[in-house]
Symmetry: C2
Subunit: 338 residues, 2 copies
């Protein structure tokens, strides 16, 4: 699609996963969702360009400065308060430099400034203004960024295409206005896993940043952005109880091993190989299933549950067991915490 790939790594949070996502890229760029991830991936030495894609807050600025001296590290802002907080820091620390992405809202309505609001353009124009009497600009506008999270509610290919088109169009229009005002903006970054296969060729988009696609999950399969056979993670558990009089089976996979993300009416995860068995209840360490089993399941049998939301389920564990042909061939250790 003639755009760069800047994969989001928050789904798996592992060096190995990010290396697969960036394999063959000359200067691997990634997106992270916590400062702990930023540090973890920067320290690995493999990723020289990292964007922390959550609006920045003051207590993270010192670590931001440190990371900026080591790699191309970028933060995101979307309002005057963010800019003023960075300018105050820059005034106190004259050698500090910040590379900033302006976060724009293209319909998800989580974070981001409105790209069609005239104030947003004026705001963007002021980002690089020198601080105090420093002639050199300490803050650089590195790009504009949107996350089309509303694509997770799109259930058809046409809807996803429309969201991708709109995402690209809003950022292209904004980019063109920046050009008119001679504001430098090297990067135009859009994306989400559901919408990332659809970038109109006429856009100013320079990179896309999907993330979940490395694992996919049942939610992505439900909305049609992958098949259920594409889902790469599952939680292994043991049947710990069978209660024929109540038609239920208990498994030692609870909400601490799967997270509690519900996928409409279909339960808390898909029991692999037993599509008619519904995981209908989750308490802390125990899951309850009912329905038809596909073959024999007894107390002691192992089952795998494919999570509704792989990002949240993966974050429950201190490591991944990497499986090839039913054998554990590797272990991946993810970054955890903040």
């Amino acid at each position: 699609m003639n755009v760069d790939l800047r994969p989001h790594v928050k789904t798996h949070k592992t060096i190995q996963g990010a290396l697969i996502q960036t394999e063959g890229l000359k200067s691997p760029k990634i997106v992270v969702s916590t400062m702990a991830e930023a540090q973890f991936f920067a320290d690995s030495g493999h990723f020289s360009d990292i964007l922390y894609a959550v609006p920045i807050s003051e207590e993270k600025l010192y670590q931001t400065w440190e990371l900026s001296q080591k790699i191309n590290f970028h933060i995101e802002i979307d309002c005057e308060a963010h800019l003023q907080m960075i300018r105050r820091f820059a005034l106190r620390n004259k050698r500090a430099k910040f590379s900033v992405f302006l976060k724009l809202d293209t319909g998800y309505h989580r974070c981001g400034a409105d790209p069609e609001d005239r104030n947003t353009l004026n705001f963007a124009r002021r980002i690089s203004q020198p601080v105090g009497d420093n002639k050199e600009s300490q803050i650089t506008l590195a790009g504009i960024y949107s996350h089309a999270g509303h694509s997770y509610k799109a259930h058809t290919k046409e809807q996803r295409q429309e969201i991708a088109n709109n995402d690209a169009k809003l950022l292209t229009d904004f980019y063109n206005k920046l050009q008119e005002h001679r504001v430098s903006c090297p990067t135009v970054s859009i994306g989400s896993t559901p919408s990332c296969s659809a970038i109109p060729s006429q856009s100013a988009v320079t990179e896309i940043h999907p993330g979940n696609y490395l694992f996919y999950d049942r939610m992505q399969a439900e909305i049609g952005s992958c098949n259920i056979s594409d889902c790469a993670v599952s939680v292994l558990g043991t049947i710990i109880g069978a209660y024929p009089s109540r038609n239920t089976i208990a498994v030692d996979i609870g909400s601490l091993a799967l997270s509690k993300d519900v996928c409409e009416e279909d339960g808390f995860g898909l029991v692999v190989g037993h599509p008619k068995l519904k995981l209908f209840s989750l308490s802390q360490e125990i899951g309850l299933m009912k329905g038809e089993t596909n073959g024999d399941l007894q107390v002691g049998s192992l089952i795998r549950v494919s999570p509704n939301h792989s990002c949240l389920a993966a974050a429950c564990f201190p490591k991944y067991h990497v499986i090839e042909n039913d054998h554990v061939v590797d272990e991946w250790i993810p970054c955890r915490g903040w």
Copy 2:
């Protein structure tokens, strides 16, 4: 109430919390929900009697045996498959001994055998039978146990009392039948946080095992088993964005910091001090709030969110900051994983 307290420690998973719960007890007894907790609390040296209250599975029997040599360690069973699995292990390991609680279902319908089913009594009578040609019994029935988890759906004191009465009655009846058949059963253990204040005096109950009460949470306050001011844990976050045109405020508390347990229509947690501000959306690292704030909240302001379900929120973190008069006076490190 003339019963022993065997607190459940799965809510906080800390030595310090369990010491508070058992302070002043001669031989502190606790309940745990994972084998990792069993090991963690046994290794601390403070708890000489630990019950792992999830139905046992085969791969845990060796660790069970090891723990049994160190402390009074008990496991739970509720069906023939569990008993046979232990008997097979005992046959292979003639010195192994197991102390077993029979788990009974008194209406929660998660795990547990039916106490009114004749087969359950027959099953209980066979638990202590010698294995192979070993004259000494390797398996001991240490007690009967129920968890009245359905009390979480009781919204009045009368309903909670009724559940507690029924819980105690079913176990008392079962205990009496065991007595008739001269089956030794030293412990009769019931309880849940909502129902634990109500034990009828005529019962055979010897101990109660509530757990959540150390922290309580919004869900417990909602059903009336505590007041909201009794809730002891909250998650501290920073306002990272304010979007007046959309009437939303973003905070850096997402589903990985709070879990995704919904409390009816009231959002994903209670914003402390701002009761009219609703945390209506949670993605991985970001929460969105809307509604009236009580005083000024700006980008950079700190807020505390009181979780709907303290057990799940607490499990998101590698440590607790213990607060007294707004100062951090201690750090508690919980057990994590399995």
